[in-house]
Symmetry: C2
Subunit: 215 residues, 2 copies
């Protein structure tokens, strides 16, 4: 009996934890990490702030978990495409398009994940996830080099360059100031143009023999 | 008399502020922003912690100023080279070499500036300085395009890609884990190799017609 009580309490705890994380994610999608305050979140969940602190020691810890879950989704989505069908160049072009489109359609979240100034706990996670992205690109570059598609002297340095180029080119158009400009009708490039130019930049940098056909 | 007293007090205040910033910079050079605590810094300067807080409201504010001063030096050094003599490709190659060499010879500081997890005030500054670097590259790309050296469809997107690629490729070799590996004799590329590969990546990405001769 004691065992069942404990087990059901653990279930309830985990359910509440999931609900907290879902509400926290919704706040970040809407207003970035700036909108993620413990008090507002407790109200969304419908619990006391003190109960929130029983699940997450502080805001940084909570923000880091929201970041890690959202980023893992992006890494997994990109991995699916990069490990899919087609030449290495085609997979890279498709991966860039999907990554940019996902970011484009959830701009506030994308800016929050890539560049919003936030607690150091999130910065720690950013470094880890940049490594995860770099790891994906390493595998693609090795494959592309083995197929004779890419001329890449250093796999790891080139993978790091790709991660940086992709993130930075999306911070620009996705950042709140750029978005405000676009909404005022003086905006920079739209998604199609950004994708095409980013793909050209990356494929040329890899010494790709042929422009990739988008599939 | 009252005026002279006030003026000399302002001078003393500014001298102390400069000394605080110099000591804070030295701490970051030595151990990154993690080594920059208000208490240790007050001891270095030889003042009470309370006096430190009269000059800087909190650690984030202080760290942001240390960051901005150190970054401005890097931006100015890079600007000197990018606006110097030679073809656009040569200037880019020379700029990359100088930037990487400066980072290489002050690795702890470079990692602190580029990627160390730290207060959000520093993240804010990072975004501003990334724009400052992007601005420099925009001018170089416009010049290179006008000279027929670079084939660049979007100047601003390409500049952002360069900023990201350069920063990210240096975070790798400069980061404390990579440094530890290198010291254990299993290290990755040395400075010359990193420079050559980064330059190849960037020039190819720009569709540069010829490999730049290093001058």
């Amino acid at each position: 009996m004691a065992y069942r009580t404990t087990a059901s309490r653990i279930d309830r705890d985990q359910a509440l934890r999931s609900r907290i994380l879902a509400c926290a994610h919704a706040r970040v999608v809407e207003g970035g990490f700036a909108a993620l305050t413990m008090q507002a979140l407790a109200e969304d969940v419908g619990i006391a702030t003190g109960s929130l602190y029983r699940h997450f020691g502080n805001k940084g810890e909570l923000a880091a978990e929201v970041f890690a879950r959202a980023s893992q989704l992006e890494v997994d989505s990109l991995a699916d495409v990069l490990c899919g069908e087609g030449s290495a160049a085609e997979r890279l072009a498709r991966g860039l398009r999907q990554f940019a489109a996902r970011a484009w359609h959830s701009r506030r979240l994308a800016f929050a994940l890539i560049a919003e100034p936030v607690d150091p706990e999130v910065d720690e996670q950013r470094l880890l996830y940049r490594e995860a992205y770099a790891e994906l690109f390493c595998r693609l570059l090795e494959d592309g080099r083995a197929r004779g598609e890419f001329q890449v002297p250093s796999i790891s340095l080139t993978a790091a360059c790709l991660v940086g180029a992709i993130a930075e080119s999306l911070v620009g158009p996705l950042s709140p100031p750029a978005r405000a400009l676009r909404e005022a009708g003086q905006g920079p490039d739209e998604l199609e143009t950004v994708c095409a130019n980013l793909t050209t930049f990356c494929l040329r940098a890899l010494g790709a023999s042929q422009p990739a056909q988008e599939t």
